[in-house]
Amino acid sequence: MNTKIKSINNKKLIMGIGIVSILTIFVVVAAINQKNPSDSKGMPKSGIPVNIEEARIDTLISKVSATGIVEAKESETVYVSNTLKIEDILVETGDTVKKDEALVNYDPSFKKELEQQLKETEIALQNADLRLQSMTTADQIEILNAESSLSQAQKMFRDTQTFLNQIELSVEQLKLKVKDAEKNLENNKILFNEGAIAKRDLDESNRQLTELKNQLSTEEMKIQSAKLDIENAEKQKSIAQHNLSTTYNKFSDPKQEAEIKIQKNQVESQKMRVDTLKEKLEEQLLSSKASMNGTVVEIFAEKGAWINQNSPLLKISNLDNLIIKVNMSEYDAPSIEKGQRVTFKGDAIKNALVEGRVSHVAPTATIQNMGNSQEAMVEVTIEVLNKDSTLKPGYTVDVEIITAEHEDTVVIPLLGVVDEKDGTKIAYIMKDDYTVERRVVKTGIYSDLYVEVTGVNEGEKIITNYNPNIKEGAKVKPLETKTQLGDGHDKN
């Protein structure tokens, strides 16, 4: 019994000691925590509680973040120009191919049929061409006859002209002779009247004149006849010339002209058909070959299947040159320029350093739906510089475009800058006597959490939890002071 009571008492004693020990621990801890070392440095026991971070000299990198999808810079899809049956696909996805390397074999029957059609059309073209030539080119004999007729007509014209000239000359001579005869008759009349000559001589003179006049009259009639002959000869020459011209150029015949036009159209039509068939053959040849050096990234068809006209057959990409396209908001876009350095993050990259460069900034923005609102976005193309990166087309990566980088500059937390209504930027600084100084500052580039400022010196204590009670001269009580680098700092 006594042992039991003793055991209970011991138990209670141990519990009592335990309780006292626990209470002592609480008291000691409370006492230690009460002795805050900052109290001894003159920190006020009251004041507006503030968070403090010291301004420091550092490198500030301004970045713009976005998410994009990796794409091959050069990519081509091979399309089928005709509905074809694929006999064999000679490559697999991932295969490296060179330009003009055969990719597929099509069912040859289509090609044969096409070649047959081409031959037939070429023959039809030849026939049409020959017929056109026969319609437009003159016959040699016809030309010779026409030329001969023209020559004869011209000769006749010339002969008649010569004859006319001769007659006219003869008429002129006769006219002179008539004049002489008339003069002679007049003289003989005078001589007869004076009795110098006999009547027989006078009559003779009179007869000669009459005879000459008759000759002149006959010759003048010949002139009229010759002139009519010349007119006829001219007409015949014109007819011969026209005939020759018609023989040379059969287009002058309206009926013939229409037929020639029809024939010409037929020739053109056949030519076009030939060209189309040749193109089809060429396209079939091209659609079975690689259009560029690269890697087969996608095959859209299957062996033995029919593939429709203008359907994609396979896609070839140059995986050595990758790009990433990202959409930047109109807020971020103005700070992005061609040539800016880019770093990537993503599940596929892990910790590997992959870098890029902005290669293109779209000149125009596009409106994109963002949930219930619309936002203007600018497409930015980034070229991946690491040829040996683990990136593959289709990966999603987070990109950080480094828009600015300033070394050895004074940086303070963004929370330490207060924007006033008039746009003035203010930093509230805790002085050594725990009072507040309101200071106008100028800001430079930003990172996520920090900003470059002028007007603040390294080591000055910036209040980062501003509220309207924090004014010039107000007494503050720092809750914590940060001197470590924050998230916004990057040093690559």
């Binding site: 008291v27 009460q34 507006i48 509680p49 009580k477």
Partner: protein
């Protein structure tokens, strides 16, 4: 039901314990005190004792009020409200308000007691509400005795924190935060008091000790959460207002 529970006490015809016996007994022999409560569920003297202690603790801790006020003023300053002057001007009120401590005790005891009874009922408790109230009043004796021990220590250390609570381990605890307030209420003697209450419920109903403790600690958890929420509600509201601005 109650008759059955009191039957054993009637049969034994033991004399009820004196107040001072119970005062010592709750710390060193709680089982004996609980059995006495079962037979004689008294509550007047424990409440008077606790009330006296509340007033005493209040006035012992009075010099710490400026520390608490400063903390509160600092917190309000963060929300752009300067209450430092108002808090200083109300010094005379603090002397008077200490006398109202017993009223708040009665309120907490009244509400907390019925709350404990309800939780116990959910777990199949068969004791009377009078027995629960008596048990709860005796638990208050432990809690307030602990407060009496802590008060001069706080004065000595010039701290207004609840010394025997996890708050002692939080030097920069934010009095506006729910967690800080919630943990502050897990004070050593409060837990002891609830251990006593849990033991009492298990003995009243011949429950296992674990079941009794679960009931008591459920009450403690929910009660503390409710009080901590009420204490920090104004700051939650201020946070919401500031966010909307």
């Amino acid at each position: 039901m109650e008759g059955n529970l009191n039957l054993n006490a009637m049969e034994t015809e033991e004399k009820p314990l004196g107040f001072f016996q119970k005062l010592i007994g709750i710390f060193v022999n709680p089982k004996e005190v609980i059995e006495d409560i079962l037979s004689y569920p008294k509550m007047l003297l424990p409440l008077i004792y606790t009330s006296i202690l509340i007033i005493a603790v209040y006035y012992i801790r009075l010099p710490l009020v400026p520390i608490t006020n400063q903390k509160m003023a600092d917190i309000y300053l963060q929300y752009g409200m300067d209450l430092s002057q108002q808090l200083e001007q109300n010094n005379t009120l603090y002397y008077i308000s200490g006398l109202f401590g017993p009223l708040s005790l009665l309120m907490i005891w009244g509400i907390g007691g019925i709350f404990l009874w309800l939780i116990a009922k959910i777990f199949g408790d068969k004791s009377s509400i009078k027995q629960i109230y008596s048990l709860y009043a005796h638990a208050f004796m432990i809690i307030e005795t602990g407060a009496l021990i802590a008060a001069p220590l706080g004065l000595l250390l010039k701290t207004d924190i609840v010394i025997f609570s996890p708050a002692a381990f939080m030097p920069n605890g934010n009095a506006a935060s729910f967690l800080y307030n919630f943990l502050s209420m897990f004070e050593f003697f409060t837990i002891w008091g609830m251990l006593f209450a849990g033991l009492g419920i298990s003995l009243f109903n011949q429950f296992s000790k674990l079941k009794g403790m679960i009931i008591a600690f459920l009450h403690l958890l929910l009660g503390n959460a409710f009080i901590a929420f009420t204490a920090t509600l104004q700051f939650l509201m201020l946070n919401l207002v500031n966010k909307n601005i």
